[in-house]
């Protein structure tokens, strides 16, 4: 049953993703791309890209998009429902405990350990995306000099400078898209 499997996989993602939207990406990738090969890394990066531009939390968008691509609208519903189910239970239980007993110190300590872990996971996901942008493949190829995509270098460098200059996300992605189209057409001609 693909629907149950989707629900269960995203349940696990929802349970283990601590630290907001970006932190959910490596977990979704581990399950959907590396684990079950439901999506390629490129499709996954597309989801991430589209999630940045549409309303709603990135984690929910990614779960919905992945579910939709894998098993249509029912798949999207199952993935999203799975993703929020652990939150629903945990949030209610912990809120009850905190309203009753006050601050819960062990949660603080667990988060102290998880914050650096999230940094590592985001770095790891980011590195995968950088390699995909530069070589159009999931790992650095053997002939990495010949296969390097010059468009990727130009686009990525430009976009990175723009991000550091605090250009807003939507504007950045619109201009990156236009730049990608121009470079693509230029590469066709010459």
């Amino acid at each position: 049953m693909i629907y149950l499997l989707l629900f269960w996989e995203f349940c696990k993602v929802g349970l283990f993703c601590v630290g907001g939207g970006y932190a959910s990406m490596p977990l979704i990738q581990a399950s959907v791309v590396d684990g079950y090969h439901w999506l390629s890394l490129k499709e996954f990066l597309d989801i991430f890209t589209i999630s940045q531009m549409t309303p709603g939390p990135i984690g929910i968008n990614a779960a919905t998009f992945a579910g939709m691509k894998i098993a249509g609208v029912p798949g999207a519903v199952c993935a999203t429902a799975g993703f929020v189910t652990p939150s629903l239970f945990l949030c209610i239980i912990v809120t009850r405990l905190i309203l009753k007993y006050g601050d819960v110190a062990p949660i603080r300590r667990i988060l102290n350990g998880l914050r650096p872990a999230v940094v590592a996971l985001i770095c790891s996901a980011g590195l995968g995306f950088v390699i995909l942008s530069l070589w159009n493949s999931e790992t650095v190829p053997q002939d990495f000099k010949e296969t390097l995509d010059w468009r990727g270098i130009v686009l990525l460098t430009g976009a990175f400078i723009a991000v550091r200059m605090k250009v807003k996300v939507i504007k950045l992605l619109v201009f990156s898209g236009i730049a990608g189209l121009i470079l693509g057409l230029a590469a066709e001609r010459f």
Partner: protein
């Protein structure tokens, strides 16, 4: 506010659940970006406009939402909804938060499948992918810099260990997160770490 006061506020509001659903739905439908954008909007609605929650308690509840697993925006909706109107409130607010992105993304996914093979769409997507990669690279850079500035050994060991285990040895992410949670629970009692 006490529990009785919450109940009084709820009973004095006509169509409480419908209002809760519509206001949360609209906020979720028109907010691009994650929890840190949505929380101030929810607060403005629930606290300032409707007076359903008091200000100080909302801040406390939101800080719980940020430390729970899952999406911060959904957690906030669940917890604030729960505080206002129990389990029914939590379910109403959660449904109102996830429905708009669910519908939007389903529509976009259909378009995506239709145009993704087109050469021009590929060029545009390639550009936008590089843009999104730059965003996540920048987020990673900032987070890493912040950790390095603290000059604490243990978090850096966790970062290096988790990165190598995940990227080089492909060790199960959930296992890594569990291990790091146990390290935090056992060794990171000190205030410096928070």
């Amino acid at each position: 506010m006490s529990d009785d006061q919450y109940q009084a506020v709820r009973n004095s509001t006509q169509h409480f659940y419908w209002k809760l659903f519509v206001s949360t739905f609209l906020i979720s439908a028109f907010t691009v970006g994650g929890g840190f954008v949505i929380i101030p909007l929810l607060r403005a609605k629930y606290v300032d406009e409707y007076g359903w929650l008091d200000d100080k308690e909302t801040l406390n509840l939101v800080s719980i939402a940020q430390s729970m697993p899952g999406v911060v925006a959904c957690n906030s909706a669940i917890i604030l909804g729960y505080r206002m109107a129990g389990i029914r409130g939590a379910l109403t607010a959660l449904l109102a938060t996830i429905l708009p992105p669910l519908v939007t993304i389903c529509v976009i996914a259909v378009f995506y499948s239709a145009v993704a093979q087109n050469a021009y769409a590929q060029y545009i997507l390639k550009g936008m992918q590089c843009g999104a990669t730059a965003i996540i690279a920048s987020v990673a850079y900032d987070l890493l810099k912040k950790q390095l500035k603290k000059r604490l050994a243990l978090p850096l060991v966790i970062i290096a260990g988790t990165f190598v285990a995940n990227y080089c040895f492909d060790i199960n992410l959930m296992l890594l997160i569990l291990i790091d949670a146990v390290i935090g629970l056992a060794l990171m009692r000190d205030k410096r770490f928070s």
